[in-house]
């Protein structure tokens, strides 16, 4: 009886493994607010499915709920990689509704936006601990990457042993400094891109296939 149970368990583990290998990997797009995460998610989704993931905006915390685009098939060097893209709200340790008042919002709208933003960040942290198989970490290459949020998030990703691809976004801007990002996280490969202009997306897709395939 024990032998049969053990045999059944072994077969179950093997079949589970086979099916798991076919399931799309959930890849979370993480980073601080306004790094261009949704622009990247939309770029990837449009390039491979024709649809967008969500609205983009220069106002911080435009994305306040994690949004998933399922079954994005990326073909690279004759190989197909299927991923679910999870576009997450920008991670921060503070949200003050007064910041939104500068963007032509009344107090009621600003308070609502800040409340939704805090819920979104909490949700993003939960996804990171429980529900993603890999991370694309997006940074704005025109800003200082040595922030506590970046340090903590990269540390959290590393502690979970998740494969992580660091993207230095906004290379179309004059004050972009990709090397600064490479210096901040030398233990990871840094890939430059402009998600807005679609610059260097070929390399991004090659790396996505390599890291998450």
């Amino acid at each position: 009886m024990g032998l049969l149970t053990s045999l059944k368990d072994s077969i179950s583990r093997v079949t589970d493994g086979l099916f798991a290998a076919d399931e799309p990997k959930r890849i979370g797009i993480y980073g601080p607010p306004n790094a261009g995460k949704t622009t990247l998610a939309n770029r990837i989704a449009r390039d491979w499915t024709g649809d967008a993931v969500g609205p983009e905006s220069h106002i911080p915390h435009e994305t306040r709920r994690a949004r998933r685009k399922e079954n994005v098939e990326i073909e690279r060097n004759g190989r197909k990689v299927t991923i679910d893209i999870v576009d997450t709200p920008g991670v921060t340790t503070k949200v003050d509704y007064k910041e939104f008042l500068d963007h032509d919002m009344d107090k009621e709208d600003a308070v609502r936006r800040s409340r939704e933003a805090t819920e979104g960040v909490a949700e993003a942290m939960h996804w990171l601990r429980e529900d993603v198989d890999g991370v694309i970490y997006v940074l704005d290459s025109t800003t200082d990457p040595f922030t506590q949020v970046n340090t903590m998030l990269i540390g959290i990703i590393e502690s979970q042993d998740l494969p992580a691809l660091i993207l230095a976004n906004k290379t179309d801007l004059a004050d972009s400094d990709v090397q600064q990002i490479a210096n901040a996280f030398p233990q990871h490969e840094t890939i430059p891109l402009s998600a807005l202009e679609g610059e260097n997306m070929d390399e991004v897709y090659t790396k996505i296939a390599e890291y998450f395939g």
Partner: protein, 134 residues
């Protein structure tokens, strides 16, 4: 509870200055992750600066961000400012630690209310912050 915010002399007027709680690694050692987060957030929500001798693990940091977000409320609490020394490029874990999955969390950490603490400069050897009164 051993992790509760330490008692202070109620005669002290908090408006006279900024209270700093320096919490030793030994005090944090016996606490669960949630007790540590509660200890930090209770102090910070009272307007104090909390300095941890040995910091938090990545998992605890993740939960600290999550719990902080759930406690933010307009005109009351806008969140936290947190600073640690950045990890050196070579990493601070030995090969054996990495192999055994042991995380080195010994990093001095400064946490304060977002509306009262501002980081002026940070590098691998120095954290310089400006703390304002209430």
């Amino acid at each position: 509870m051993p992790g509760a915010t330490p008692d202070v002399d109620e005669g002290d007027d908090p408006n006279d200055g900024v209270r700093i709680d320096m919490i030793s690694g030994a005090r944090m050692e016996g606490l669960t992750g949630m007790e540590k987060i509660r200890l930090i957030l209770d102090g910070v929500r009272d307007g104090n600066i909390v300095i941890l001798e040995e910091g938090l693990s990545p998992d605890e940091e993740s939960k600290l961000i999550e719990v902080t977000m759930t406690e933010i409320s307009p005109d009351d609490f806008t969140g936290i400012e947190i600073e640690t020394y950045p990890k050196p490029a070579s990493g601070n874990q030995s090969f054996l630690d990495k192999l055994m999955g042991r995380e080195s969390t010994q990093k001095l950490t400064v946490i304060g209310p977002a509306n009262r603490i501002e980081t002026l400069h940070k590098d691998e050897n120095l954290i310089s912050t400006l703390v304002s009164r209430k």
